[in-house]
Amino acid sequence: MNRRFALTLALLPLAACGSKREVDPNSQYGPNPVLPEPNEQLVADVGVFQVTGWPAGEAPTVPAGFKIEAIATGLSNPRNVLALPNGDVLIVESKIERSEPVQRPKDPIRGLIMARAHGQSQSGQAPGPSNQITLLRDSNGDGRPDGRTVLVDRLNAPFGIAVVGSDLYVANTDAVVRYPFAPGTTRITAPPVKVVGLPAGPINHHWTKSLTASPDGSRLYASVGSNSNALERGIEAEKDRAAILEIDPKTGLYKVFASGLRNPNGLTFYPGTNTLWTVVNERDELGPDLVPDYMTSVRPGGFYGWPYSYYGQHVDPRVRPQRPDLVARAISPDYALSSHVAALGLAFYTGASFPAGYGGGAFVGEHGSWNRTDPHGYKVAFIRFQGGRPVGIPQDFVTGFLKDGKARGRPVGVTVDRTGALIVADDVGNTVWRVSYAAAAPAPVPAPAG
């Protein structure tokens, strides 16, 4: 046997390898991001970082003039925060315990990568029980909480919360539930009342269910992420998924409000309007520069492409059979946030203590990429708004979550508190941060504690 021929035969498949390309990250912001051709690499770009937690005395970085402090540490995977008008801050600690069923040999490998990115065993902190809501009370209004209680526990991987009147709504991963909640309550003992079930099931790939209420409180909106990256679990697994559901809290009836949104989170109405906004995690494994995640206003009945297309009519080559009828009406989202940033939190700035340019702008919690060797996200970005529309490119607002190739924390949910400070949930850092403007006016008169 000719040895050279044998070698050629053995190395033949190498010819199938693809090539890399570069895209300027700044070209993937705003309404018209540069979208390169799909680049399905032989081995997808993977960049996940060992989680170390925050060394004592260390904190994320904020712009000059601002200061950042931890207002709660030692939490167990805090993923969402909600500031109440009385100054209390609710922290949703959440963990999904089960793993997805293995459908293909790649699934366990993918699971290992994700476990590393979310791992807390190496962070040096031994998290206590998760799946609960912790309440922080700042009774003297100095921005530093002086009380901390577990408001409600034994939840099922909760994420979204909303307070409407005297009701607290919690979006567990499998249902929206309601608790009676008078302002000032520090511990709920009443059992939950189920409002409506949400798609969960054995796969439950994107398990975070975001929640908000319409400005008049008559409707709830829950986001349900897809059960797959690009329909690889089959269409049956996607019923009522990759969608925002509109729920009547009185009857539990719901309808699909908008669809084709791969993994929508951070549901928030733009202040003073009836326009719902969301941040959406777009699909992976089309290369490091596809598909940009985005922030968008949501049109009732709108279809935003997933899984058949992205940014309007850019067809995903992996999805068959295709649906040209749906692609034809796919809406291009308002504002690209760049690829794989993993936007999970959204809050509009309604406070008055930050400088003028921040008013009405959007803070976006970017959990950070895995499908890029060069990381994106891992920060809270700020996007200025003019006339209710995003303008310019995002500015780094809270950074420093990655340092020396290790993840000290990862930002998720964001909210603006009574004093106009920004509250950031940091899940793998097991911390909640508060960013205030150093030159801010004195805190308002504290509300009476309940």
């Binding site: 046997m1 053995a10 498949p13 032989l42 040999p105 990256n229 329909l231 690889e232 995903d316 068959r320």
Partner: protein, 195 residues
Amino acid sequence: MLCPILVAQIGSGHSFAAARLDVISPEPPPFLLVISPDSRGRMIDLADSMARSTRTPLTVAGHPVYSALLPVPIVCFLGALLTDIAYVGAPDMLWLDFSSWLLFAGLVAGGFAGALLIVELVRAGSGRRGALTLHFVLLLAAWITEIFNSLIHARDGWTAVAGTGITLSAIAAVLALAAGWFWQSARRALSGETR
């Protein structure tokens, strides 16, 4: 996976081989994979180009192991081609799942088979290695092709199969079948028997 304890007696010293034989003789338990020594109780190393005596294939409880393992990767790789064809005909993710698992099973079984085959190649000595080499190269080429094909098949949908995926499946199936074809003559040469 397979759990036999592989007792590989690869040494150049006669006394060592004999001593180990004492341990496992006369009746090795059936779970032991015994690499049978040649008729003089001697093991052959790679450099021993002078070894030309008759040898038998590796056996478990008297049955040749490699012959039993070889069909698994061939059938799996051929099966993956068939399920790829089914997927391209009617793109249901189920077919892609089948292909992915068939590739995986074929690679695992093929990996074991290939490891055994390398041992057989060493044992064959340079004199009769030629007959095995063509078989080995074809199987190795099929296996490497399917490594790449597994990565292609890990894509989430149509592009996992259409184009590159199914082409690699076809190439590997042909290579694996050819490897099986040439195994017959290689086996005869290896065992030195005529049937």
